[in-house]
Amino acid sequence: MKYDIILAGVGGQGVLALAAAIASGAMEEKLFVKQAEVHGMAQRGGAVMATLRLADREVASDLIPHGTASMILSMEPLESLRYLSFLAPEGTLVTSVNPVRNIPDYPDLEELLTRVRTLPRAIVVDAEKLARAAGSVRATNMVMVGAAMHLLPIQPGTIENAVRAIFARKGSEVVDINLRALRAGRDATG
């Protein structure tokens, strides 16, 4: 078993925390995990991409080859399309519908979402709305983890435990908001 994920978003959206939640869950289930990310200049409001490789055996490469990723999990619709060449023909794209319009030539959102929906396997989620209902838009990334959860090779309960551990430091209220966000994402797609 090998499950490769491309994580996409814009600097500041919490892509790395999203990666951490899935990676922690996978480790708990004794999977081999490799997570590569971009630091430095690219973080400042630019396109951010991280890769997460989960497998039942050791994987050598930190980078995912073209046409082989099982999933693209994106915090932002435009960013979700940027790495399509990495997605395997049978892979799934999971994205939030909420745009980050910090560039002058951002494409028409409806056209963008229509393109996403024409893909063979695409899941789109109004993640911000669900996160707000769960208690904070800052939990949008956990909604996206929830939205992807039914496809991941990890038990949902294990991911919930990982979320608890990641946010434990910030108090029980923050933990509860993030768990609600995770479940809202799961219920919207699973």
Binding site: G11, L16, A17, A19, A20, A21, A23, S24, M27, E28, K30, F32, V33, K34, Q35, A36, E37, V38, H39, G40, M41, A42, Q43, R44, G45, G46, A47, A60, S61, D62, L63, I64, P65, H66, G67, T68, L78, E79, L81, R82, L84, S85, L87, A88, P89, L93, N102, I103, D105, P107, E111, L112, R115, L119, P120, N161, A162, A165, I166, R169
Partner: protein, 584 residues
Amino acid sequence: MTQRMPFRIAGAFCLRDVRPLRLHRQKGMHYKGCAAGKEDCPEPAKVVIMAEMVLLGDEAVAMGAVDAGLTAAYAYPGTPSTEILEYLIRYEARHGRPHAAWCANEKTAYESALGVSLAGCRTLVAMKHVGLNVAADPFINSALVAIRGGLVLAVADDPGMHSSQNEQDSRFYADFARVICYEPANQQEAYEMTRMAFDHSERFEIPVMIRLVTRLAHSRTVVRTAEPIPAKSPSKSPDIASSWILMPHIARRRWHELLLRQKDILACVESSPFNTLKLNRERRDLGVITTGVARNYYVENLEDLGFEPSHLHVGVYPIPVGKVRQLAEHVKRIVIFEDGYPYLERQLCGIMPLAVEIQGRESGEVPADGELNPDIVRRALGLAERKGVEISGITLAGRPPQFCAGCPHADTLKALKMALAGYRETIVTSDIGCYTLGALPPYSAVETCVCMGASIGMAKGAAEAGLHPVVAVIGDSTFLHSGVTPLMDVVTARANMTLIIADNGTVAMTGTQPTVLTQPQLEQVVLGVGVAPEHFHVLSAHPKQAEHNAEILKKEIEYRGPSVIIARRECLEAVKDAKKGGAA
């Protein structure tokens, strides 16, 4: 269920399987001259595995150094190397050792490390690849002194220039200095090689380099650590005079001895467990050489290749020439994969015709520039390209990095543009830092970015060539790194230019590390260099001050001589990070 630390935070994990680590037994051996015979590396010993930790490649180097008995570590922040010292600073806060500190620049960091070694203790110095240009002077010369406490230089190269102005390959520097260079392929090797590097540094009395690349530096996975050894007590060597004073007569002897030692260094590297040769007796058509992380991309494609070609992996240099020759005698064609310059390939090819065909970046089978990846390796191995999902009919607008909302640099550059608005031909030189983003629209406010501190010297030159107005824009940390010395030139030459120090009180681009000096020392440095107080202003980089700031800038631009403006407001990211740190 066992309680585990979240993935992002390094911590101890339960053991899964126990595998011998490739670490040498600590024998406390020291290099004793060059006349002795073949000095092979001892066989790797079985080591007790202490813990499993989730570590970035950078952090694995840091942890390897800690477990090797590190006394002190120094660095200047630079992507992708920053997390090495960040990890050690956090480690020191928790455990009270080793000493870990940011320095003014890579050269001062290296020299501090050299002092630790002189005192007989183990030391690590970390930097990005272009930082080694700054530290090249102490690095090259330190190969001639008799290194006492192991000195390991961790350099993180940036093939593909994710966050750098070039993709220079540090392996050339190691060769230039005639020292050992380790090139880990994964986080586990980064840990093990760092530990071994300390042993080799002491055994051969040379600094030893660990060369990382971005992809390894910033990728995390589980690392198994081994039993730590204690730090050494400081001591003074009785032989300092004969081996640390590089006056010509001593330097000549030390250089000669270093050259004689090369034979033993090579013998050690030839037998290293990190340089592996596997010959396929059935096939002679193809051989593969990989170095560092390139092995990962090769292994990724091996299954589809359908057979295992003869394969040499190089994880430690100087190049293991014996193993290279063995491979070359066995096959007709060799493909070389390196994440960086064609360092190995160029040495193998040379100028004279060869019996064996060599393919790689130099010959064109692998692209000459950019980061290596599994797809490039796949093509070079002759495997069919794998297509991903395609989409048509929509243009994906690029999303370059940009100033954070409310960034003080944006306000500084707005004021500068206002001040320069009336002039026909202006030149604004700039430097390395967040403010370099001011080169992009909508600001398009700065026009050069070459190396740390260059903005000031270049502005002086442009002014002396006759351009006016000439403005240099540099950040506070970059100014302290390499801007003070060119400012001395500016003052001495009375160059007709204006320097803006964009002071946000932090090293922002690399993740808000502290600067070595803050206000009011920064002002004292500028005035101490000899800038006239009446042409030195400290302004608030606030949107409400834009017009006032533009007026003062214009007045100083009109002044025929050197003027300096500090445009100050704290970085919003630094404020956020400080709050987070305070809450933790």
